[in-house]
Symmetry: C2
Subunit: 369 residues, 2 copies
C-alpha cells in the first residue's frame, strides 16, 4: 500500500493544482491518460488490453476469453420517459454483447451492477431483469453475478466474458490496403428513432394528458434505438462459412468514428462512398420529416450496433450478400493525407472527420464538411 | 427478440400495477427476485453462479476462472469530502479483489467503468487511476478495459476475473460441524474510522475555515476505512502451507452477516464468543470515545474486508497463529433453533441476528439482542 497516509489528507485535496475540464481533452484524451497512468501491462497471458472493443487473454494454448464492460446511465444514455424498462435490460446486455461479437467471440457470462434510485420499485427492477433474461436467451448466455446498490439515478453496469479460438479473434488493427469496407444491416436508424422519441417526449410535455401520438410510421427506427440486437447471428454465419474479416468493430459511436478507429489502429486510410451507405426507407423518411440530411444520421448517429468489417473482395463471396453492404475500401495512408475520404452523392470527394458524439462535450454534434 | 414492440409502449409503463418499495424486501429479497427472474443456469461449464462472492466457471479440465463485480457510488458508499481520490481508486479495486480472494482464487484482470460528474476534473480522474494502479501493483493484476461516462455523481464500477485450480476453490457452503470459525486480522476498525470521519466532516462544516482536527489518534482506523487491503497475502500463505479452509467469505457486511451467510449456505449453525473477537485497541478507544459498544462495531460494522473461514482444529496447525483468531465453532443446525448464537462477555448465550447495514433500509442500524 503506497498511498499516502489517509489520516494526513489535506482538506481540499486538489485545490492547489490546475484543474482541466474533461471536455477539454474529450473521451479519447481521457482514455489515453488512463492508459498512461496504468502503464504497459506485463501479463504474459494478456493478448490485448485497453485497445479494442474487448480485452483478450489466453485461457489455454488455443483458446482465449474476451472481457468488456459498458454502463447505461439514466439521463445520459436513456430517458425513463420513453425507455421501457424491459428494453433497458435488453439493451444493457446487448451493447456489451456487441463488443464481444466485435472481437468475433461468443458471449458466455455476464455480471450486472444495478444502481437503483428511490423512485424505482421492486416491480420495475423485475421488469429490467425480464429484459436481461430475454437478452440472455437471445444470445445463449448466462448472468452469473452482480451487485445491487441504492443510487441517485438508475444505472446498469454490465460486464461480459466471451470465448473464442485465439486464431479466430479479429481486431480493429487488421485492415489491409485493398480490403473492402463493409457494414451489416442498415445504419442511422437508431439516431432517427431517438429523434422521434425526443420530439414525442417534448410534445407529451407540452400537450394535454389525452394526447396520443401516432408512432406507427416510426416503429422500426424506434425499436432500433430502444432494443438494438447485437449481431451475433452474423458472426456465427461467418464462422459456418469459414469466413474471417481482417478487421472488425461494432458501431456505437457512428460509422465515421468506427472507420477512423480501424484506420488509426491499422495504419491505413479509407475511401467511403455516400451513395453506398445502407439506409432504411423509414430512416430516410424520418430525416426528411425533420428536414435533416440522412447521411449525417448514418455517419454520425451511432448506437446502431451493426458491424463494420474489412475483407478482400474475393473473400466476400463466402458471405450471404443480403447481410452486408460494401461502403468503401481500405487505402494507403500517407501521413500528410486525410485519413478517411468520402465521395459525396454529387460526386465531390471530401475528407471525413470522426464526428459522432463525445459524451463530455455537449457542443459537439453531427456535422459534415 | 421477444420484447413487446417498443413503438407500442404505454406512456406510464408501470402505473397500473402495485408498486413495492425496495426497502420492503431488502437487498437479499431483491437478489432472490433477480435469481427467480433469470431462472436456473444451464451452462455446462458454470460451476457456481449467483450464490457466492464470485461466479465460478471452468476454462479447462482443471482450472476455473471466477468473476465478480462491485460498484462504489458517491453519496452511498463514499463521501468525496473525506475520501481521497487515490484511496477511492485503491478501494474500488480492493473490494472486488476481496471477493476473488474469498473464493481462494488469484485476481488477474479488471475492467473499470467510471461515471464522472461535471465537477470532477481530468486531474482528479488521474488521481483515481493512480490509486487503481497502486492496487494493480499490490495485487499483481492488470486493468484491461473500461468505460467512461458523464454522470450525475462519481461512481466506479469494477469487475475482476480471477483464476484458480478447480479443486482449490472454497465456497461459503463448505462449513462442517465441528470446524473452528476463524477471522483474519481485526474487525470493526473500518466502521470506527467511518465514525471519526463523519464526526470530523460535521465539525469542519460547523467550524471556522482554520479548524484543523487532530486525526493522529485515529490514523489506523481511518486508513482501514479509506484504503482497506484485500487479504490476498493470507490466501497465498495458505496455499504455500497446503492449507485449504472448508468455507470462506470476506467481510463486507459485518462478521455477523457473513457467519449467517456461511450457515445458510452450509446448512449448519454457529456458536460465537464475544471475548474472542479480534479488536484493535484503536478501534476500542474510538468506540469508548463515542460512548458505544465496540462489539457492535465488530459484529455489524462491515467493510473490514478481512476473511472469515472455517477449518477443523488440527488443520489450523499449518497456519501462522499470528494471522487469525478463532472466534467460534460450527454447530449442528436444528430447524427450530436459532442459527447463530453468541456467548456474551458476561456469560449469557444469546441468538445473533445478521444485522449489518441494508443499503435500501436507512432505518436499519447496528443492534444487539
Amino acid at each position: 500500500m503506497n498511498a499516502q497516509d489517509p489520516s494526513q489528507q489535506p482538506r481540499s485535496q486538489q485545490s492547489s493544482s490546475p484543474q482541466t475540464a474533461l471536455a477539454e481533452i474529450g473521451e479519447f484524451g481521457l482514455i489515453a491518460m488512463m492508459r498512461d497512468t496504468l502503464g504497459d501491462p506485463t501479463d504474459d497471458a494478456l493478448v490485448s488490453g485497453i485497445a479494442d472493443d474487448a480485452a483478450v487473454y489466453r485461457v489455454d494454448d488455443e483458446r482465449v476469453h474476451v472481457l468488456t464492460t459498458d454502463t447505461l446511465i439514466e439521463g445520459v444514455h436513456f430517458d425513463r420517459a420513453f425507455m421501457p424498462l424491459e428494453h433497458l435490460g435488453f439493451k444493457a446486455l446487448s451493447v456489451n454483447v456487441s463488443d464481444v461479437v466485435a472481437m468475433n467471440a461468443t458471449p458466455r457470462y455476464a455480471t450486472v451492477s444495478i444502481g437503483i434510485p428511490q423512485n424505482v420499485s421492486v416491480e420495475m427492477v423485475t421488469t429490467i431483469y425480464e429484459g436481461l433474461k430475454q437478452a440472455c436467451d437471445a444470445y445463449d448466455m448466462t448472468i452469473v453475478g452482480g451487485d445491487t446498490n441504492a443510487a441517485h439515478g438508475l444505472s446498469l453496469s454490465v460486464s461480459v466474458v466471451g470465448a473464442a479460438a485465439e486464431a479466430a479473434v479479429v481486431y480493429r488493427s487488421g485492415a489491409q490496403v485493398g480490403d473492402k469496407i463493409c457494414v451489416t444491416g442498415d445504419i442511422g436508424s437508431s439516431y432517427a428513432g431517438l429523434k422521434v422519441l425526443l420530439r414525442n417526449r417534448k410534445r407529451l410535455q407540452e400537450q394535454e394528458e389525452d394526447f396520443e401520438p401516432n408512432l406507427d410510421p416510426f416503429s422500426y427506427v424506434i425499436r432500433r434505438h430502444l432494443a438494438p440486437p447485437a449481431q451475433l447471428k452474423r458472426t456465427r454465419e461467418w464462422a459456418d462459412a469459414g469466413a474471417r474479416p481482417h478487421a472488425l468493430i461494432d458501431i456505437s459511436d457512428g460509422l465515421s468514428a468506427e472507420v477512423h478507429h480501424i484506420c488509426e489502429a491499422s495504419g491505413v486510410g479509407a475511401q467511403l462512398y455516400e451513395p453506398a451507405l445502407p439506409i432504411d426507407p423509414e430512416t430516410r423518411n424520418t430525416a426528411t420529416e425533420f428536414g435533416e440530411d440522412v447521411t449525417v444520421y448514418a455517419l454520425f448517429g451511432g448506437e446502431d450496433y451493426e458491424l463494420v468489417f474489412t475483407m478482400p473482395e474475393d473473400a466476400l463471396d463466402a458471405l450471404d450478400p443480403q447481410t452486408y453492404s460494401v461502403v468503401g475500401e481500405v487505402t494507403e495512408r500517407d501521413e500528410t493525407d486525410e485519413e478517411v475520404m468520402i465521395q459525396r452523392a454529387h460526386g465531390e470527394n471530401v475528407p471525413l472527420q470522426p464526428g459522432g458524439f463525445d459524451h463530455f462535450d455537449d457542443t459537439s454534434s453531427p456535422g459534415m464538411p
